[in-house]
Structures are given as structure tokens and as C-alpha cells.
Amino acid sequence: MEYAELVQESIGTLVVNKLRTGLAILGIVIGIGSVIALVSLGQSSQQAIQSQIQSLGSNLLTVQPSGQRSGGVAGAAGGGTTLTLEDADAIKNSSTITTVKNVSPEYAGREQVVAGRNNTNTQVIGVQPIYASVRNVTMSQGSFITDQQVSSMSKVAVLGSTVVEDLFGTGANPIGQTIRINGQTLTVIGVTASRGGTGFQNQDDIIWVPLTTAQKQLFGESYLTSIAVEAKSAEVMVDAQNEVGYLLLARHKLTDPADKDFSIFNQQDLLNTVNQTTGTFTTLLAGVAAISLLVGGIGIMNIMLVTVTERTREIGLRKALGAKKKVIVTQFLIESLILTFIGGIIGIGLGVLASYIYSIVTASAFVVSLQSVVLAFIVSAGIGVLFGWYPAKRAANLQPIEALRYE
């Protein structure tokens, strides 16, 4: 007996029992669908977080002062006053530093900002022009801070889009308007393109001013709150970290690295940590989905076993009419394979649709990895064979006499 005939025969019985067929397929649809949807959900959030981190600048090291120690009590990280503009210049110019491309000294603080009758509390960062290239800032209106404005301590400001909304309203053009920070009046010269940062830090809720203006006129401080260092490539990140670290140790006259009064954050480390975390998250989701797939498989076995009992007379008849064991086994296996095959295809379709809807609703990337689709497909076929095998075997081993007598 040919396989094509068996397939026809199997499709015939599946079509005749529509409700049973539908219920069995439903289990697999839900299983496969949730595997695809949850895995792609995990992967899309992983990509979103990755690209968000990378949008903050590539190959970035951030040097921050350590917390001040007084009497053995450690203050908050970044709270120290040990980093200076000279440190930044040294990093830029030292002959021992070979792997650094750009250095951006920064002074950041939170301030109440007023424009007309509106005010907002936001982050104010004093920067040099190089900041824009190191931190990946692009302009939507006007221009960024220039060297001339830094050296002349100009009272100018560049606003993030959230700040513009807070102070001037949505869609307003703030160029040429003035804002007040700490009693000083600054003229708005530019608005940055939105970086869409949500999550831990909104990258659009920032005001940039010339470094000198921030230090001397707004905050009255001479130290830096951070130095952003852009390495020449991703491969030399660790070298750059070491070079900068040793240079600063020497400049701060420290011999024991344990006493260091600064810390260096490697963006790659952050990226790796985040990747690891989201990876675990994705695996967890896939695990949950796999359980529902397993339940779907057991559902198939259940339905097939019921089918064997329900069709005892039919199986007996088929054997009496000359069906060999192999034919019965094959027919039942083909039936469960068709169930899982159809369920798998519908499940993949629904899973892809669900992740597409998710990506639209959350405005995130639409990621469906071919891997998870292929895997889900193989798994569903595997389930068909695995969970179809036992019922099929039972059907084939029925004695025709017993089966024909069965009421």
C-alpha cells in the first residue's frame, strides 16, 4: 500500500471527525504559537535595549569620580570632585595613550529651568563640541555648541526634545528664545533629534550648555562629573580602559589601584550584562512556551488514544480486511503528523502575527528568527511522531477478533 493512499485515508478520517481534529490541532497551535511569539518578543526587547545603549555612543568608556571618602564612609559614586579638565586633556594628549579617539569632559547637574511661565527640573550638562560625536547627538534644529562658545563662556543652550515640550509646548520652535537657569539667562541655539530613550534614562530630557558656562556661571565648580572616552575600536576597549586607568592613577599620585578615586565604566560590559540578562529572559520565556508545547503534545497523544479506543471496531475491521500492522501504525502516525503539521503551520502564522502586533503596539523592532520557526516546526513534527507512536502501536496490536467484538 502506497504512502499517498495512506495519507488520503488519514485525511479522510481526520475530515470525518472535524471536532476531534480541531481540538487536537488547537493544542499544537497554542504551543507553537507561544514559542514563536515569546521568543521573538524576547529577542525584540533584547535588540531594543542593545540599540538604545549603542545610540548613546559607540566604544564608550565613562570615567567618573569615586564617592568621596570621609572617615572610612564611602559617598555615592560620581559624587567626588577628583576629575579635572586637566585629566581630560592629559587623556587626549598623553603619549602613553594610543587607543583613544576622542575625549569629552562633562559637568552634569540637575537644575530647575524656567522659560516664561513654564518650568521643569532637568539635567544640565556642560560639554565641549566633541560631545556630539562621542555621545552620538544629532541636531533637528539649529546647531550644537561650538569651541568659540566654550572659550567665550557664551550663555547658550541646546535642548532635548522633551525639554522643548516641557518648556515651550509640543511642536514649538524655541530657537532664539531664552531660558533661565540659576538666575542666568541663556539663549536657545539648537534642539537635538529625539533619541527615544525611555527606560533607565530619558536621553531627550537634557539641556546642553558650554562646559565653561556650566562650571563657572551655573554651578560655580571647577571639577568634572565625568569624562567620556571614545576608544578607536571595540577591540581595544579593554586596552583603552587600562591606559586611561594607569594614566589617572599616576596623575592622582596613587600607587595602589585599590585606592583609586575614580571608576571607569565600559559600555561593552554594560552591553554584555544586558545581553546576558535579556538572554536569560528570552530563555525563560521560551521555557514557559515549551511547557505549553509539551502540553499540546500530550493533548495530541490523549486525542489519539481516545481515537484508538473509539475506533477499535474500525481498526479491527481494517485488520480483518487485510491491513498489516505496519499499515495501521503508519496510518495513525500520519494522522498525528498531519495534526501537528497543520497545527504547526497555523501556530507559526499566529506567533508571527502576535509578534508583529507586539512590535507595532510597542514601536519596537519586528524580529522573528528563522531559527525559532524552523525549531518549532521540527519540534511539532517530533511531537507528532513521539506522541503518536504509542497510540499507533496500540492500534496495530489490537487483535481483530477482540476489536470486531468491541461495542
Binding site: V16, R318, L321, G322, A323, K326, P400
Partner: protein
């Protein structure tokens, strides 16, 4: 055609030994129409199972159309049933919700006969049993008598050595039972060998030879000189 010699079937259920068939010997020639009669518990069902190659004897030998059916593997038994025996069951045993054509073609599917040939033969046999106008009806849309006629067509499909009918009229109305007997007699006249198991005297008298079974033994084996002929309308 059929040669049964010293056939015994003993069932072992725990400590109790039940002798269902005890040293049965008989033969059936080609073209005979034999009724095997006996009350329930006489062993006639066991005999039917062995004759139908659904079960194997404990002792003795069974030759069917030149083949020894005493000691064969399951799958070979299936093959013998497929080629040599046309079954007609008391409960018809058609595939539910399936067309008459498909039901008749089923044994030919297992024999690997190509589709066009199957269609041709199924139609021919369905016409022969008077169901030429019901080819694509579903089995559950037919009356009991009609279902049994589909089963007869299915039994004929492989052109088997014997037609083996197990209480063929047990589940149908007596008016339709006569139709079934008429078909059997017509098939027998055309040369088909028919063995019919029944406990009803009224049905057995349609056969040309009656073998009586009691307590696992043949109690009487007679030619039915008063065969009741049914004229087909």
C-alpha cells in the same frame, strides 16, 4: 477448497481449560453453500474465527485454497484474509460516514490495486448487489439491509476463495433478510463458495449443506435436500 482436519481450539483462562473446538474434521468443495449451525456456546464462532484466519487453532490443520493456515505470523494472516476471504459480519462493520464506493474499495486499497481498477470493480459489485444507484451514499444513510449488501460487495471485491458470513441477517429485518439470502443463492449459482454461520434454522435452510455443531464437535453434517430457494423480484 477448505480442508479442516482434527482441529482443536483450547482457551486457557487461568487454571480453567475451555475446549471450544474438539477434534473437528470436515472439508468444503469449491462452489458449495454451507451453513454452520449451532446454539450459542457451541463453538461455531470459534470455528468461524479460525476459518476466517482471524485466529489460529491450538491443534490440527487448516488448509484454505492450497495454503496452510495453521501456524502463520500476524501479517501473513492479514494477507491471507485480504486475498482469500470475503467477510460479511453481523454488524455490517462499514466505515462510518464514508461512501459505499470507498467502503467496497477498502480491501483493494490494502491489496495495492490501482485506483481506476478499484473504482471499476467496486461499481461492478455494487451493481451486482443492487446498489448501483447508491454508489456515493454515506454508509450511515443506508438501511440495515442495504448496509449488508454493501458489505457483500466489499466481500466480493478481492474475488476471494470463500465468502464467510457470520450471522449475516442477525441485525436486519426479516423482509430484508430474504433479499440477502437471495443474493447469496445467486452468487452461489454463479460459482462462489459460501460459508454461513448462523443459529437460526430459518436462515440455515437457504444453504445446500448444513453442518451442526454442538459442544465443539460436529454433531451432524447433512445435504439440505429441502433448500429454500428465493426467487428474486
Amino acid at each position: 477448497m477448505i480442508q479442516v482436519s482434527h482441529l482443536s481450539k483450547i482457551y486457557n483462562t487461568g487454571d480453567v481449560e475451555t475446549v471450544a473446538l474438539d477434534d473437528v474434521t470436515f472439508s468444503v468443495q469449491k462452489g458449495e453453500f454451507v451453513a454452520i449451525m449451532g446454539p450459542s456456546g457451541s463453538g461455531k464462532s470459534t470455528l468461524m474465527h479460525i476459518l476466517g484466519a482471524l485466529d489460529l487453532p491450538t491443534k490440527g490443520s487448516y488448509m484454505l485454497d492450497g495454503e496452510n493456515v495453521s501456524n502463520v505470523a500476524d501479517d501473513d494472516l492479514a494477507d491471507i484474509r485480504n486475498r482469500k476471504i470475503g467477510f460479511i459480519f453481523q454488524a455490517f462493520n462499514l466505515l462510518p460516514r464514508t461512501t459505499t464506493m470507498k467502503n467496497v474499495m477498502l480491501p483493494m486499497v490494502y491489496a495495492g490495486i490501482p485506483k481506476s481498477e478499484r473504482m471499476k470493480r467496486a461499481q461492478k459489485y455494487l451493481e451486482m448487489v443492487g446498489l448501483g444507484h447508491r454508489l456515493y451514499h454515506l454508509s450511515n444513510q443506508l438501511s440495515g439491509g442495504q448496509q449488508q449488501r454493501v458489505a457483500i460487495a466489499r466481500g466480493l471485491a478481492m474475488n476471494p476463495a470463500i465468502l464467510l458470513a457470520d450471522e449475516p441477517t442477525g441485525n436486519i429485518a426479516s423482509s430484508q433478510a430474504a433479499e440477502i439470502m437471495a443474493i447469496f443463492q445467486k452468487l452461489n449459482d454463479e460459482g462462489h463458495t459460501i460459508i454461513m454461520i448462523t443459529h437460526e434454522q430459518d436462515i440455515a435452510i437457504h444453504a445446500r449443506r448444513i453442518i451442526h455443531i454442538r459442544d465443539g464437535k460436529i454433531s451432524k453434517d447433512e445435504i439440505n435436500r429441502k433448500q429454500k430457494r428465493i426467487q428474486e423480484q
